[in-house]
């Protein structure tokens, strides 16, 4: 009895000795991150980890506006060929290296020159960077590029410790050292990534969490089950089919934000022999196809109303959305008339798509919708890597794939629809579109840019190399104990102001 009493007392003493705020936030990711080096990585989930680990020159707010982070202020030269950034004072990297202009120069240089760097194309407009003061850098450009700032709000703008980067080289990702609110502790491949609070963070008052564990759990059902059983506190990207049960669960809450990207069908316009069908050669046929789709019904049936119907590379809620081109209602008669104008009664179409259940369902619904207008659709489901290969190689008539989106409108358009665009798989080429998009890239005035994008949007809406269907929503499910979390349109999990109570 005495012994029991003793051990109970000891236990209580031990429990009260633990700091009350020793909180670990456990986050369920839908995939395992790849290498944790901002210059080398490419996965979406990797970026979620960076939101805790690595601060960037600039950040996005909940409306996807660019806001200061490590750069407090910036300005463009009149000719748009130079960008001057003032840097935040009093910031240190996790290894104690001070953050200053030299550190930024080293970082941008690394992104541009490291052989393994994946950031080269994002920084392709940068000719050079120099320290023009202890806390000021100046980017010089090869051509005006308004989208550069937005690039710096992501991995290209993440600052790693130059000391650590130089010591580790391409191996940096095994033990990343940045300046974010949390520092790297350990990683077990495919199991967990652990970060702990960085005491010297410049904005430490806003960080209440002591430790963060990211766990990759690809299966959405299992990810949600882990949240329900209390193994996790936040899970990202839950399935639309689970939204109903989560919102009815008193122990859980939900946060969502419309993403920056889009869901679309790419039409092969000029990529090899498979473009040589009415679908590739006659814009009226593509218009008919687009008109035969009921985008709102798609949203209701496949996404339980959680997505947003759309017809442009930006969601209707975006300031870049062209209000003169509203999302069209389904019009089978008009679609039939357009087909008849093109001299077609019925025509076969093959659409390739990724073989996951949601997209497959979506395509089956589309298949049924367009059949009424005269399209006999054959669906070809392939695994994602294969889909990308086929799409690049031009072995498709129509191809269904998604774009995760970029905060700057340029990132959702330029590389897809300009003649020399890096991922212009339809091989669509219209000099007028090129001119408008190049001018929009070079202009720094928001109104001028909006006008140019609107003009390009009108042409693209006629030519339809890309048939936009809608925009996905990032849906997070959280334990009721998590407070202060906000969903962002880039789908990142920002840990500032997040608290945890049991």
């Amino acid at each position: 009895m005495t012994r029991h009493l003793l051990s109970a007392t000891a236990l209580i003493a031990l429990m009260s000795a633990l700091p009350a705020g020793a909180q670990t936030l456990r986050i369920g990711l839908s995939d395992d991150a790849d290498i944790l080096d901002p210059d080398q990585s490419r996965t979406f989930v990797g970026r979620i980890v960076y939101a805790g680990l690595c601060d960037k020159l600039v950040d996005l707010d909940a409306q996807a506006n660019i806001i200061p982070m490590l750069a407090t202020d910036w300005s463009w030269s009149d000719d748009g060929m130079a960008l001057v950034m003032d840097l935040r004072e009093g910031v240190v990297f996790h290894d104690g290296t001070p953050f200053d202009a030299d550190a930024v120069v080293a970082n941008i240089t690394r992104s541009m020159t490291l052989p393994e760097s994946r950031r080269k194309s994002e920084l392709s407009s940068v000719a050079g960077i120099e320290a023009t003061g202890p806390m000021q850098v100046t980017f010089t450009l090869t051509a005006p590029d308004a989208s550069l700032i937005a690039q710096l709000s992501d991995r290209a703008g993440m600052m790693v410790s130059p000391t650590a980067a130089e010591a580790a080289g391409a191996e940096f990702g095994q033990n990343p050292v940045c300046s974010g609110p949390f520092k790297f502790v350990e990683r077990i491949q495919q199991d967990r990534i652990v970060l702990e609070k960085f005491a010297d963070y410049y904005d430490a008052d806003r960080i209440a969490i002591e430790r963060v564990t990211y766990r990759p759990i690809p299966d959405t059902t299992v990810r949600l089950a882990n949240l329900r059983s209390g193994e996790l506190d936040i899970v990202e990207r839950i399935a639309a089919s689970d939204v109903g049960s989560v919102s009815q669960d008193a122990a859980l809450q939900m946060q969502e934000a419309v993403g920056l990207g889009y869901m679309a069908i790419y039409a092969n316009i000029g990529n090899g022999d498979r473009a040589l069908t009415p679908m590739g050669e006659d814009a009226r046929v593509r218009q008919a196809f687009s008109l035969a789709i009921d985008r709102e019904a798609l949203n209701q049936v496949v996404f339980e109303g959680t997505a947003v119907p759309g017809n442009q590379p930006f969601p209707p809620s975006s300031p870049w959305f062209n209000q003169d081109l509203p999302v069209p209602a389904r019009d089978v008669e008009a679609a039939r008339a357009l087909l008849a104008e093109a001299g077609i009664d019925r025509m076969p179409v093959e659409i390739q798509h990724a073989n996951n259940p949601v997209i497959t369902q979506m395509m089956q619904v589309i298949q049924a919708m367009v059949a009424e207008a005269g399209f006999d659709v054959t669906l070809r489901a392939t695994e994602f890597a294969t889909l990308l290969s086929e799409q690049t190689a031009g072995n498709f008539q129509l191809s269904r794939s998604d774009w995760s989106g970029r905060p700057d409108p340029d990132g959702n358009l330029h590389q897809f629809v300009t003649c020399e665009g890096g991922i212009n798989d339809p091989r669509y080429c219209n000099p007028e579109v090129d001119r408008l998009l190049n001018e929009a890239r070079a202009a720094n005035d928001r109104k001028v840019r909006k006008d140019l994008y609107d003009q390009a949007g009108v042409i693209l809406n006629q030519d339809l190399p890309v048939i936009y269907l809608g925009h996905q929503t990032y849906i997070f499910a959280l334990d009721q104990g998590v407070q202060g979390f906000e969903a962002f349109p880039d789908g990142m999990i920002r840990l500032q102001d997040v608290t945890l109570s049991q």
Binding site: R118, E122, R215, V222, T392
Partner: protein, 315 residues
């Protein structure tokens, strides 16, 4: 005996070589460009060309294969395209996880399957036999992934008894390690238990009708002695061989089980590697699995020899 083992190991070498060639060739037949899979959304032609050159993927396939083989001979399995980690390090990290899962599943299977098989054989045609058969049939027919998800929902979400997923090394936190492994091992073990039960049963039935058992009974031995000492030991031989063969099935099952319970083991490693076209990892894992499979067979043969004096004479 040692000579026998050495001979067997020698014979295994060409098998491994053929396996590695097959896997390498089959991977090249897979549609989907590894460079595209690696590049993800940043797939402009320049980036693609850069990655391709970095990884020597422009070389002819035989050259790539020989380069890989040359590395393996020197103990270098290459590095993962996705994470930049050495493949050998990845394998060493994941192997203990899957071994733990496989061993625990095997224990489950043996504990359930073998006694059930014996009882079913002894009570052939009786209620217990039928029950065991029906349970075994269910065990074989229920898919792993379904059983896994149902168990998670019941045991973790509703009852809150066990963690829904995850993994902890047995050396770091043994209790947590067992907690996280019980459900996956059970799920993985059920199918095996069924197979083991069926084979134990038929093997026991064969032995029980043999002449020497009749003699043993005639000598006046008790039922227990006849069943456990005389029949079971002999009936065990085919079961052991089978267990070794089931090892392959176990690994295949581990692929699914590890996905459901998100256990960072071999199965998850290879599935992710295939989807990411991470060739070096796929190669390394398959080669290791083949080695493991061959070793298990060898061990099974050695154990059979030890259990059966007649086979010892045949060596």
């Amino acid at each position: 005996m040692l000579i026998y083992i050495a001979k067997r190991l020698l014979v295994a070498l060409p098998t491994l070589l053929i396996v590695s060639m097959l896997v390498f060739g089959l991977q090249m037949l897979l549609p989907g460009d590894p460079v595209l899979a690696m590049a993800g959304e940043d797939r402009d032609p320049e980036t693609l060309a850069r990655i391709r050159a970095q990884l020597n993927l422009d070389d002819p396939v035989p050259v790539q294969y020989l380069r890989w083989l040359g590395g393996v001979v020197q103990g270098d399995f290459g590095t993962s395209l996705r994470t930049g980690q050495p493949v050998s390090e990845l394998i060493l990290q994941k192997l203990p996880v899957t071994i733990q899962l496989a061993v625990m599943a095997m224990i489950f299977a043996a504990l359930i399957g073998i006694p059930a098989g014996i009882i079913a054989a002894v009570r052939k045609g009786g209620v217990l036999d039928w029950t065991a058969n029906i349970v075994a049939l269910s065990g074989l027919s229920i898919p792993n992934f379904w059983l896994g998800i149902m168990l998670i929902l019941l045991v973790s979400v509703n009852l809150g008894w066990l963690p829904a997923s995850g993994y902890e090394s047995i050396f770091v936190d043994p209790v947590r390690s067992l907690e996280t492994m019980i459900m996956p091992a059970f799920v993985l073990g059920t199918g095996l238990a069924a197979t083991l039960m069926r084979h134990t049963r038929s093997s026991m039935l064969g032995v029980l009708s043999a002449d020497y058992i009749r003699t043993a009974r005639a000598k006046g031995l008790t039922g227990r002695q006849v069943v456990l000492k005389h029949s079971f030991r002999n009936a065990l031989l085919p079961v052991i061989t089978l267990s070794a063969l089931l090892f392959g099935e176990l690994l295949a099952g581990a692929v699914l089980t590890e996905q459901i319970f998100t256990i960072p083991g071999f199965g998850k490693l290879i599935v992710d590697a295939v989807f990411n076209r991470d060739y070096a990892v796929v190669q390394g894992v398959v080669l290791c699995t083949a080695v493991g499979f061959l070793l298990m067979n060898l061990i099974a043969d050695v154990v059979s020899v030890l259990l059966n004096p007649r086979m010892r004479a045949a060596l």
